[in-house]
């Protein structure tokens, strides 16, 4: 039976790991390669690196980081942030990433998803979606959550699947950084709607939150950052807890 995945996410800015609350107030959280190695040893099932660098110069550092991480880590990893062309995807994959994720770029150019998927395969095409509830509708946001669009989340997720996404990484901005649990209702609805796997992100604060996101939210993977970086929830303990409570995880 396929296991549920636990995925630490490393937000990268200028080569360092950072983490903020509600997309703001960035705090330094350590050397990404050191963290990546520790997570792989601790039993993380995958890693996600999100480059949140603001400038082009800072963004160029990602290739070198991908290269170093790939040399050391024996589990799959995804790289996202600022990816807007198939050329960049190729460069990241050639440096050793297994998957890439696109977010804002897919909104400006949805056919990019089809292009990447057909060139490199759906297995490496993750579409990241940041959304927030506005007047009872889940609205997709771009630019790290700064700009609202007029696009509705579930419609968008379906469209991404049709265009060749291999996986959806859904972050609830309402839950991100709050440690009050994942957006289980929206996740469950999305899971029933799509046939591709869904990574849940935003809101992880306790072991129970992960149990809920797999049971109620029907997510295929749970992603979190700060609770892992600051060792609030060690991954081996989290996985043992999930196993004891009937969730199939890799121990």
């Amino acid at each position: 039976m396929l296991t549920k995945r636990i995925i630490p996410c490393l937000d990268i800015k200028n080569g360092r790991t950072v983490k903020g609350v509600n997309f703001l107030n960035l705090v330094d959280a350590g050397d990404p390669i050191e963290l990546a190695r520790k997570y792989a040893e601790d039993g993380a099932d995958e890693l996600v690196f999100l480059d949140i660098s603001a400038t082009q110069e800072e963004r160029e550092t990602i290739y070198d980081l991908v290269h170093k991480v790939a040399a050391e880590i024996n589990i799959p990893f995804t790289v996202g942030g600022g990816i807007a062309s198939a050329d960049k995807v190729e460069k990241i994959l050639k440096n050793g990433a297994d998957k890439i994720s696109v977010n804002s770029a897919a909104i400006y150019n949805p056919l990019l998803v089809r292009e990447i998927s057909s060139l490199f395969g759906a297995q490496c095409m993750v579409v990241a979606i940041d959304a927030k509830r506005i007047h009872d509708k889940w609205i997709v946001h771009t630019h790290g959550g700064k700009k609202a669009t007029e696009i509705e989340l579930f419609h968008w997720a379906q469209k991404m699947e049709e265009l060749g996404a291999g996986e959806i990484l859904f972050t609830s901005m309402d839950h991100d950084g709050t440690k009050s649990g994942f957006a289980c209702e929206a996740l469950s609805y999305m899971s029933d709607l799509l046939t591709i796997p869904i990574i849940a992100s935003g809101g992880a604060g306790s072991e129970i939150d992960f149990l809920n996101v797999f049971n109620e939210g029907k997510a295929d993977a749970g992603l979190a950052a700060s609770i892992f970086h600051f060792n609030e929830i060690p991954i081996p303990e989290l996985k043992s807890f999930l196993k004891e409570n009937g969730v199939n995880v890799r121990l």
């Binding site: 589990i75 759906a122 046939t195």
Partner: protein
């Protein structure tokens, strides 16, 4: 020398990194003579079966691979291409293993691709590929197409149905999972392949 076939359709970098971590000497090559003279050959593949097969044809490597006598390890799409035919893009394969590669049926309440860590069931370990690996150990899969169980299956995995996690025909081995991304279990399997003596 170990040769990784470099035909622009592989996860060359991941495989190279894994071999580096194991301390194995290898070269990347699309040169027939280099491939033929290898001690062992790794045939990686990600992406689309049709596109991968087209690239093999463009590099005129089809008959070279078919005629190899040393141990060959096809990984993921590399394994699928060892078969007769793939429904992914409806392409002929290399025809080493006589079966068709099928697509998972997403209407059967499963997510497709089959993506993540799943359990191996080792059905035949006479080849030593799974030395030190246990049935129930987890390995990492990412694929939408699968090789059905057949007389060449040596390990299986369950995902709505049972399919071939590994196949073997004479000197040809295939693994559907990404050993190079499967943690310590994967490293063990790659290392076992390096030590296979036909």
């Amino acid at each position: 020398m170990i040769v990784i076939i470099d035909y622009d359709a592989g996860n060359i970098c991941s495989v190279s990194n894994a071999l580096n971590r194991l301390g194995v000497d290898f070269v990347l090559s699309d040169d027939k003579e280099v491939i033929k003279s290898a001690e062992k050959v790794i045939f990686p593949g990600v992406g689309h079966a049709f596109a991968a097969m087209e690239k093999l044809r463009a590099k005129k490597l089809v008959s070279t691979i078919q005629q190899l006598k040393q141990p060959v390890l096809g990984i993921c799409v590399g394994m699928q291409l060892l078969c007769d035919y793939s429904h992914e893009g409806n392409t002929e394969g290399l025809g080493v293993v006589h079966t068709d590669v099928q697509k998972f049926d997403s209407s059967k309440d499963i997510k497709v691709p089959h993506m993540g860590w799943n359990r191996l069931r080792i059905d035949d370990d006479s080849s030593n590929l799974f030395n030190g690996v246990l049935t129930e150990d987890y390995v990492y899969f990412v694929h939408s197409y699968y090789v059905p169980l057949n007389q060449n299956s040596i390990a299986s995995c369950a995902y709505s149905l049972e399919f071939s996690a590994a196949i073997k025909h004479e000197n040809f081995y295939g693994i559907q999972f990404h050993a190079e991304k499967s943690g310590k279990v994967g490293e063990r399997i790659l290392n076992n392949f390096m030590n296979i003596d036909l």
